[in-house]
Symmetry: C2
Subunit: 364 residues, 2 copies
């Protein structure tokens, strides 16, 4: 059980954890080599900007990856806490440093709460930052049960979902899910930076979404890329290969490359199809229930149906002519399983004849 | 004035325009070579799925870029409308085709309403799709005033903001603002597709945002890339160069490349900084008013201030010690200009001593 916490490094993540811990009634001490940052966190209500008089239950080291090892060593020399964890976005390097430098690696477990904002610093902190987010814990071969329990308790107390991973597996995964997406956003945004005046009116939500995370602090991100270079390098090589093929294919369409047109179009479609498959993977999978309505040819009937259905979470999936009755339209609807019963009842009551489609292999 | 409209191609864009036009009282006719698509649009209330008996005021050609020219030619041969426009996401090719094929290029102006969704087809259509969006119009050297007026009227009627551009300038701009961001999203998402099982828990909002548009229809996007290949090819070459330098730099950090470490870090920071500058450009610029509060050293004071200020649109920008009084904290706040007066009054009434900072060069 974590009743007292020392946060070393009161940036966005450290201060947000401190605010969440304070809200849960934990006694929190704040430290930062920038005394103003600690004072700001204190003034935000994140705890007291002073050293604890007795060892706390858990020390949270919220500093850049390369500093985790030295800061852990110093904190353990001072006997600051019973257990120690960190929040660095890469885990193999800090683990290696901890095993090499820390007097008591048994009391340390690596951690990575997967949340962030484009803004950094304590003023951007919020107690809700980790609600529902994954909080990875990466026990080393030396990590003891107490450290793992304490760090897990902190993650839960912040509303996060603890997930245990090997530090190297973690680093390979975040290279794909976080670091390379950030670099791709930067590469895309760099092109927008160089675009001529007047381009701004043509920037839409798509470009804004792709480039949003590129607004992150370049110095901080240089440190992250440095710390996870091997895993990022491997993914970037794959991206580079894909981009080389794609770029050559577009050159071919432009008439300046050696590829044939049909082959070029296939290459482009292949990249787009693999991208679409990847994009699906980023969305929480939920298999909807399927409903079915047959409509006669009456202009606006489907519009009325969808307006009646929308408040019940029902959306249209597709529509097709009824076989052998081409003027009738079969409309396939989707609804979250939990809402299906009430949606059917409400639509029936409103005069629509809705049937549930048989799609599940076993007795739905 | 546009009182009657023929929509040729009842996909997402055509049907959404039709719904917006119907809402504004325009008589709308719907045509699609897929009769079911036209029937679905009709059933949504987007108009009548039949040919107009007399020429309409405006025909909207909402088909893929390569088909605009032939469809325009056929529609003008049938004398379907007084004026003609289209919605293709690239403009130079359709303009060239129109000038070559159309019997009456004076009556045609290219158009591109800058709105979309990941879903395509009439079932994804909505009358609000264009509200507040840019709608580019690209008059050719031949375009007459009536066609330009009619297309402008349609854009306004859909709630969009008409912007006039040369077709080639448009294509160069959307390569940077739309097409290359899409391809970058696809390349990023393709890496996520290939990531090992268990990776999904580590996919956060950042990766979801970067890859969202990659979910778009690969066939549709292959057509767009094909139609705007010259402009896209030029931008992709710049991206490829940046990526090659970035990838080599990360290899160098990994110890496998020839670059020196310091030089590699500078290269990475350079890409990240250019990306951050580009990301800023994608956000609507609003210069906030600046407020200033001095707080004594009382834990939680800043937290209380920000909770009192948030309902008035006030956010914290930065904080620093007061010179010669290190225990006092100067907090710099930002607020939208329109809300500044009421925010200051409300905070004053709540007992906070807020002053407006002098930042504007001339008498604010």
């Amino acid at each position: 059980m974590v009743r007292s916490l020392l946060v070393i490094g009161t940036g966005l993540i450290g201060t947000s954890v401190a605010l969440a811990a304070r809200r849960a009634g934990v006694t929190v001490f704040l430290a930062d080599r920038d005394v103003t940052a600690a004072r700001v966190a204190e003034s935000l209500g994140a705890g007291l900007a002073e050293p604890p008089r007795h060892p706390v239950d858990l020390a949270l080291i919220a500093v850049p990856p390369a500093h985790v090892g030295p800061v852990l060593r110093d904190a353990q020399h001072r006997r600051s806490a019973r257990s120690y964890t960190d929040v660095a976005g890469v885990k193999a390097g800090p683990e290696r440093d901890a095993l090499r430098l820390a007097p008591d690696p048994v009391a340390y477990v690596g951690g990575h709460p997967m949340a962030g904002r484009e803004r950094s610093g304590p003023l951007a902190a919020t107690a809700d930052l980790f609600a529902g987010r994954t909080w990875v814990l990466t026990p080393s071969g030396r990590t003891g049960a107490a450290a793992l329990d304490d760090a897990t308790a902190l993650a839960v107390l912040c509303g996060a979902v603890p997930v245990r991973l090997d530090s190297r597996a973690h680093d390979a995964m975040v290279a794909v899910t976080s670091h390379v997406p950030h670099l791709m956003a930067s590469l895309t945004a760099a092109r927008l930076r160089d675009a001529p005046a007047g381009t701004d009116a043509l920037i839409g939500q798509g470009a804004r979404d792709v480039t949003r995370i590129a607004a992150g602090d370049p110095a901080l991100w240089t440190g992250i890329v440095h710390a996870n270079a091997p895993a990022i390098a491997a993914v970037l090589r794959d991206v580079r290969d894909d981009l080389a093929r794609l770029s050559a294919a577009v050159d071919a369409l432009d008439g300046t490359g050696p590829d044939g047109r049909e082959r070029a179009l296939r290459t482009i479609t292949d990249v787009l199809e693999r991208g679409a498959a990847g994009a699906v993977r980023t969305r929480p999978a939920q298999v909807p229930d399927r409903l079915r309505v047959v409509l006669g040819r009456e202009p606006g009937a489907l519009g009325r149906l969808l307006r009646a259905a929308a408040p019940h979470g029902v959306t249209a999936d597709r529509a097709e002519p009824l076989p052998h009755a081409e003027d009738e339209l079969v409309v396939h609807l989707e609804v979250p399983p939990a809402a299906a019963g009430s949606a059917v009842a409400a639509l029936d009551a409103a005069g629509w004849h809705v049937t549930r489609a048989e799609t599940a292999p076993a007795g739905r």
